[in-house]
Structure formats: C-alpha cells, structure tokens
Amino acid sequence: MPDPVILSVGASPVGDSELTGRDLFSVALAEAFENLPDPAGIVDALYVGNQSESYEHQIMYGTLLAEWAGLRHVPAERVEGCAAAGALALRHAVRDVRSGQCDVVLACGVEKMTAGGTAGATEALSAAFDRALEQRSGITAPSQYALLAERYCHETGATEEELARVAVKNHSNAARNPRAQYQSEIDAETVLESPYVARPLKLFDCAPVSDGAAAVVIASEEVAATLVDSEETVRASGVGAGSNNLAVAERDLTFVEGAHRAARGAYEEAGVEASEIDVAEVHDAFTVCEPLLAEAVGFAPRRAGVECALEPGERSDGWSDVELSTSGGLKARGHPIGATGLYQAIEAYEQLTGRAGDRQVEGAKRALCVNEGGVADAVTVAHVLEAT
C-alpha cells in the first residue's frame, strides 16, 4: 500500500475577512501550490470541508473549488460533519492515496462565518444539534458546552479559573502564530471578568466566529519524492474516526468516548502510543474541551485534564509531556468551522518540518490532530502525523 504524506499546505489568515469563501480558498491554494506544478497536472481528487450553506447561500463547494483550482476534470465533493468537516476531507484524501486510487489529493476546508454576524453563526451552528428535543428547547452551542463544563467541574473539582488558564495558554501560543486571529496575550483576569455566555463559560472561554480557508495536499510518498525534498513532507500514518449520539444528553458527560475511539484508531493504524505524541492540536472550541480531550486521547489521567494549561513538567504523574494547541487552538488561532481540521494539520506539518517559528517545539517528531463536529464528540476524526 502506498504511504500517504503531506506534500504541501496553504491557508488564508484566520479572522474577520473582506474576502468570500472562494477567495479565501484562492489564498490557501496559492500558498499550497507556490512551489508545485499546476494542480491540473498532479491532483486526482478534491474534498472540501464546509459546515453550512447558510453563511454564503452556496452549496456545491466541491464543484466550485475544483473549477477555481483548474480541476474540473477530477471528482470533487463537499464533506459535511460540522466542525469535523475539515478532518473528514483530510481523511478521505489520506485513504484515497493509501488505497492506491489516487496519487495526489487536495483536501481543503472553507468557511465564511462572519457573513451572518453572531446571530447567523448561532443559528447555523444550532443546526448541528438534534432537532427533535435539543434545537426546539432554544439551546445554543456555548450552552451545550456549558452543560459539559458544569458537569466536568462538578465531578473533577476543576474551577473556572483553571479553565481560564487554558484560554491564557492558547492566546499565548497564538501570539506567536502569524496565521492566528488573535495575536495577543491575555491574562486570567481578562477571561474571568468577561461576561457569561452560558454559565460557567464566559466570552473568553469560547472560540471566535472566524473566516478562513485551508488546503493540505496529500500524495503518495513515491510521487511526493518527485516533487519536493523528503524532509519537507510529513507522514499521515494513522487516521481514526468515530461517532457518538447526536444528543449530548445521551452521552457520557465527562468522557468524550467518540474522541477516545477516534484517537485509538489513529494510534493503532500508526503503531504509536499516546505517550509518544510530542505535539497535539485538539478541538478546543471551548476551554473545557481541552481537558476533556486530553483525558480521552490518553494524554492525561481521568479528572486531571485541566492541567493541560500547565507546562509539561508541572503536571501530575500520568500526564504525558505533550504540548497542546501550539497554534493557539480554535480558541485563539480561530475556528472557521469547516476549515479547522485542515488548520490543525497545517500546524502539525509546520511543527514536524521545523517551520513553526517562535512556537517551534524542539525535536517534535509525532503529532496528533483531533477534530470534532457537532457538540463535542458527535463526530471525531483523529490523525497521527509523523516527521519523515
């Protein structure tokens, strides 16, 4: 079986942009193919992660972006899975290459969330909840995560201040990421004094509304070797995916099982252990997500996940030395929903190829990306990526 690698990456800056979704994709495409032949000469298929047509009133993003890239002749489709759409697109690309069906596949994601303002985003994101009982009760995305946060704090003794420190850490990382939406540090007081959005979560516990597009080019190792130096590539050695109930009420409220299964699948395929992961991008849409995911993917002992905000050496026994959300995470890098999974892979690529600048983790060899969709682990995709 061919070994899939990341051949190249590109992305627009994340933030509130004047550009539309297709324009943001053009930015990502231009960067990703800066040193490559035309996409038409090498790309065999295209997948687009995209959450919602309600922002731009545009479906058919597969066809549109294929046309934009000069790829009208290849199969192209939009992949839907709310905020996991990006990693689902990446997973399709990896599997197409591993199966031998394709030599090179373009995985991308695009979202123009600011088009409808905060109310538009609230409305669009609520479509990810169960319509029958959850949506009709008036619940919003922050309040769904607040239900998880309230229970997590109740069972583990974690405090609002500890959750605030997750936001502080991720802003500090984003301050060193030129792609990030918020390139500024904040202190815990800023988080704690921000207004409640849904108790116990406050404004600064939440990822922002973001525009952005990202592209990751997956190729077989053999074909990649004809196009770039091998040290510029990163192995996509393991991928796992898993679903959980759509309605949050029916899940384990303090253990994101879907993410646990997805990560385990990725570890098994790659033949690695959680303890061997050096850097990880986890789906910190809200501060409470990072501790929940740290526990579910095996970095932290149960109930100790909230120590994710501490330096590796300061955490309890049983914690791995992984560096979490070096990009700034969804919280501060920004969260253009359908593109987020690709931004995670781009951070892993930059860390594993030594291109992460001021936020470079020395000696990073293995990365885990965990991308969730719906509320928390309604669907999760995990990728293990390794330096060549």
Binding site: G138, V248, A249
Partner: protein, 157 residues
C-alpha cells in the same frame, strides 16, 4: 406508571416498514402526538435494557433492533444545567433560559428548558416534566410540520 406497549401480542420486535406511520411512536409525528396527549414515550432495548427518547429503530448501546415502547415517568433529576444568555432568535423573548440535562427515573436522559431561574436549580435538583403548546413566537420559527408539536419543559418538583 411505566408500562410496555405490546403490539400483536409479541412485542418487542423489530419495526416493519408498514409500522412506520405518522401514528407510530417510532416516528417523530407519532412521538409528538403522544406527547401532546401527555405521554412521553421512550424505547427500551430488549437486549441490554438501554432506554431512550424518542424511540428509534435500533439501540445505540448494543445495536439490537428489538425495541419496546415504554411510557416514561415524569420525575427526574438534573445532571447538569446552564443559563443561556443569548438564545437563538426564536427564544430571545424568554432570555435568559435555564436549560438542563435531566435523567428521568427510568434512566432516560434528555435536554430541556427548566421553568426556573438559574439560581433556583442545581445539579441534583428533582424536576418534573411538563408539556405545553408552542408560543406564537416559537411557532413562527417552527417548520410547518412542527407547529403542532408540543414542547417539554421541566419544573422544579
């Protein structure tokens, strides 16, 4: 209060295509019609005993399709709750909303509004399920087929 509804004298059994009418509790129109009559119907897996609302064709815990329909108790306990400062536009008039995940005495869990201020309830508070029609405001945002579907609301017991 909890009782099994047996069809053809040999329930539970797999639902058949012809069972799935708008009167069946295995469909949302049937589930909400029963709720309008004050009956919250759930499914219970005959293999593993997992219970859930609404009823569905297979058990999420074990995959079995042998599902019995059971009327649910109204009494339950708050597992977690929050206050929605800015709800979706359909519910803006009622903001802030108190919302909770409740475990009914049957083990079924569901999310719903709580007719109380956030400060009045907490994890462990006993609640009772009530059912009401949609308000005019809520009906505006409902899809055509949802307008007559009632809303479940928990009240502190």
């Amino acid at each position: 209060m909890t009782g099994r509804e047996r069809g053809d004298g040999e329930s539970p059994r797999r639902v058949k295509p012809e069972d799935l009418t708008a009167e069946s509790p295995f469909t949302l129109p049937g589930f909400f019609a029963a709720l309008s009559d004050g009956r919250l119907l759930g499914g219970r897996c005959d293999e593993c005993e997992q219970a859930f609302v609404p009823p569905r064709p297979a058990c999420y815990a074990c995959g079995s399709r042998e599902i019995a329909v059971e009327e649910q108790p109204r009494e339950g306990t708050i597992l977690t709750n929050t206050e929605v400062a800015r709800p979706a536009p359909a519910f803006a008039a009622d903001a802030p909303l108190t919302i909770a995940i409740v475990e009914l005495d049957s083990g079924v869990r569901l999310t719903g509004r709580v007719a109380a201020d956030y400060e009045e309830v907490e994890i462990g508070t006993p609640v009772e399920l009530t059912v009401r029609e949609l308000t005019d405001q809520e009906k505006e945002f409902a899809l055509d087929h949802e307008e007559e579907w009632p809303l479940h609301v928990f009240e502190p017991a």
